[in-house]
């Protein structure tokens, strides 16, 4: 039952990201995405290869149904899935890995979760903005866009994390 709730909510959040991309463009300087937290919150027993394939599929779906460029979200999301296995023990400690516990704000506290999400968002937006700029945007403009996107998306991702695993 718990798993079904997670899966349905997961799919709804992916659909929500598609809607956000299509209808709620805030500014050219701010990108909002909760996809990094969706990858971070994948079940812990899921290996790196499977989580990378899930990340690729999520990115593909979002790009396919939104007006974005096909492949750009997958390009940015796969490194988030790759870094997940290293990031979790680094932020939450090795115990979490040995006990095989799922990530949640209630279990690990808001600070550790915020830190993990910040790093994931940082990786995601770094690749996304770098590929989106394609060498045509000057450094400071791209850096401003990157910083604003990470700062705005991190609290939203925290809320999404609480929504996915409230216990």
């Amino acid at each position: 039952m718990k798993n079904w709730r997670f899966i349905i909510l997961y799919l709804m959040l992916v659909a929500g990201q598609v809607i956000l991309c299509n209808y709620f463009g805030l500014s050219q300087y701010v990108l909002i995405s909760w996809l990094p937290v969706l990858i971070l919150m994948l079940p812990h027993r899921m290996g790196s290869i499977v989580s990378m394939i899930v990340a690729f599929a999520c990115g593909f779906v979002v790009d396919f149904f939104s007006t974005g460029m096909l492949g750009i979200t997958s390009l940015a999301l796969v490194p988030v899935a790759l870094s997940r296995r290293a990031l979790i023990p680094l932020v939450f400690g090795d115990e979490q890995v040995t006990r095989d516990e799922e990530l949640s704000i209630a279990r690990f506290g808001i600070i550790k979760m915020a830190l993990a999400i910040l790093v994931s968002c940082g990786i995601f937006f770094l690749v996304y903005i770098w590929a989106d700029s394609a060498g045509t945007v000057n450094f400071w403009r791209a850096a401003t866009r990157y910083l604003l996107s990470v700062l705005v998306s991190t609290p939203i991702c925290l809320y999404v994390a609480k929504l996915l695993r409230p216990e």
């Binding site: 290869i49 990378m52 990340a55 990115g59 096909l70 492949g71 997958s74 590929a131």
Partner: protein, 272 residues
Amino acid sequence: MARNGKFYSGLAVAAVFILLEIAAMSMLKSSSALQDIWINRASHNAMAWSWGKISKLQNYLSLQKENELLAGRNYELFKELQHYREMEREMQTMAKLDSIGFRSMFNYIPAEITAMGTNSRHNYIILDKGAEDGVRPNSAIITPNGVVGMIYSVDRHYSYGISLLNDRLSVSARIGKEGLVAPMSWDGHGTDHAILKDIPLHLTVAEGDTVRTSGLSTVYPADIPLGVTMGSRLVDGAVNVVDVKLFIDFASLRYVIIAENPDRETIEKMER
């Protein structure tokens, strides 16, 4: 075993990551013209960089071959130069020389140094050419930059020589083209200095003059540059000694030329 498993799983993760990123990039490339140009440019840069590195590596690996080729070329040019020097000298002494009938006085054999000592007062040198290659004792070991030593004994495939950095070896040298002739030997200090001995007191030697082999010995070909004079000093109140800075760098020496005078024995018999 567990270590191997971890390694292979890491390899599989890396392979899947690269595959997925390539797939995402090719989708991005085909869906946007701007990104297409950007990816193409990046891939061209990466290719140019890797080609550059590979070609640098290839160049580095082929250095040995290149060195051997250059040593061979150096040897050929040296042989030619010596031939012209000898011809010039003969023409100066015999005005009616028929150059068609001219033959070189020395036979030259290129060789590579197998071992060489530079740390004692009696340094030696071993070359990779021996009796089967035509090397005979008392042949000169030279380079275009100076005298290296003299062959002392010969094996079938190797030859043993006395280095110039050996106080037993003395080379007949001339200061300038037609100047004073004096024996030159190692001063025993450092690998780039030698001394010209037995210079009479009434003769003055200018600094910076080129010292060459005199050609008066049957061992060394004439006019091989040896070094430059650096000043003279009085020894035992009887004779002057001139310091010579050698052209040859013994530290980086690898290829040499063995010069053998086929008429040496005949000339030495006549001297007796």
